[in-house]
Symmetry: C2
Subunit: 231 residues, 2 copies
């Protein structure tokens, strides 16, 4: 399934300064020894709910979704994770099993670090632990904030919110290709697929966005921001 890559060394990783600022060369070499790097194609599972958590994993490249499936087989997307978001952070220190599934929504590269040596390093290096603590705190803050935001808005506001999210926080451009199907967007912001489509069309008619398949361009940013804020 997932292709195992010719693993690069953490010491040379571009993300080192962002993620592991407080580790020295020895510590990095140590973790590097317990590290695997895997490549996933769009649509492939990276982890499945109830799998045991044996590794700490983070996204080096790509885009993934974290989601749960409820008793009616309906998916609920908890969060979209992009590189530098520690994907495995949500439950890695509090649970033995994944509480959700992870799937690549763009071709992705994921680093796997065995959990035991990582924990060892955390215990040995308090600065590193503090760093992880801060990042974890930030990520969960962010997820929870977005969830509260979505919960308290009505549909037009939710669509505006999610479009602004992709534009501002993922692609850094006013035009982008939606990495999610209409159905997945519905699952992310808790509404029906039909209404996702309907409201997107509405925005198109109002000249707020233009749509070509999954290609979206935001034409009137101010209007969208107003809808996000007051909708």
């Amino acid at each position: 399934m997932a292709e195992i890559l010719n693993t690069s060394n953490c010491n040379e990783c571009a993300f080192r300064s962002v993620l592991f600022e407080n580790l020295n060369h020895e510590e990095l070499d140590y973790l590097n020894f317990y590290k695997t790097e895997k490549k996933f194609l769009k649509g492939e599972f990276i982890a499945e709910e109830n799998d045991p958590i044996n590794e700490f994993l983070y996204l080096k490249k790509g885009l993934v979704k974290l989601f749960k499936v409820d008793r009616n087989q309906r998916e609920h997307i908890i969060s979209i994770a992009k590189p530098l978001n520690f994907v495995g952070f949500l439950s890695v220190f509090s649970n033995k099993k994944y509480q959700y599934s992870i799937k690549a929504i763009e071709d992705s590269i994921v680093c796997y670090i065995d959990l035991a040596p990582l924990k060892e390093t955390l215990v040995r290096n308090g600065l590193f632990a503090m760093e992880v603590l801060e990042k974890l705190n930030k990520i969960t803050d962010d997820i929870l904030g977005k969830r509260l935001n979505i919960c308290s808005k009505q549909l037009r506001g939710r669509i505006a919110f999610i479009l602004l999210y992709f534009s501002r926080e993922v692609y850094f451009r006013p035009s982008f290709e939606l990495p999610l199907s209409r159905k997945e967007i519905a699952e992310l912001i808790e509404m029906s697929t039909e209404n996702v489509i309907r409201i997107l069309s509405e925005f198109r008619k109002d000249q707020i966005i233009s749509i070509a398949g999954s290609e979206i361009e935001i034409l009137n940013m101010e209007a969208l921001e107003r809808i996000d804020k007051f909708g």
Copy 2:
């Protein structure tokens, strides 16, 4: 406003083993020096959104709500915190300011530990940091899980959920006094006050619960669980 208590020593605190298992006597004495204990009456503010976070705080006794106020003056309750939930955990390591307000919903005692010496101790003692990491992870997992749960249910299911929550996780009894007004329950599970009342009355008519003011008794636990699960 809040009464400052004759501070007890952390070394003798009953919660020590639960919260600070991995600290030795010296470390505890050190933190104890930077600790204040305050008492709040029901309804009093413990912290307000945008206050600077200078202390790490945790609830020793009582019950508090964490909430935000939106642009329409409507409150949104993020979470109810009970003793042993680190109240200040949500943003304490990721933000300089509180992202939400905290208010006592029962008479409460809160411990304040200055943030700087706490962080110092975290850096010096990796085991302690690891412990905090695990607890923080658990708490945010829990809050997020509940939020997702609430978002994906309709109203009857939400009411069932929140009644079961108080019964199972807060009071450990089938009968209890609701610490929240009907309005606050509405703010916690994102619905209108009128519908909270309506559905509670419905449950009363169906003999699932009995109501006497804020006194609630669950009469038919199985029915409530069914509604929680399938509603």
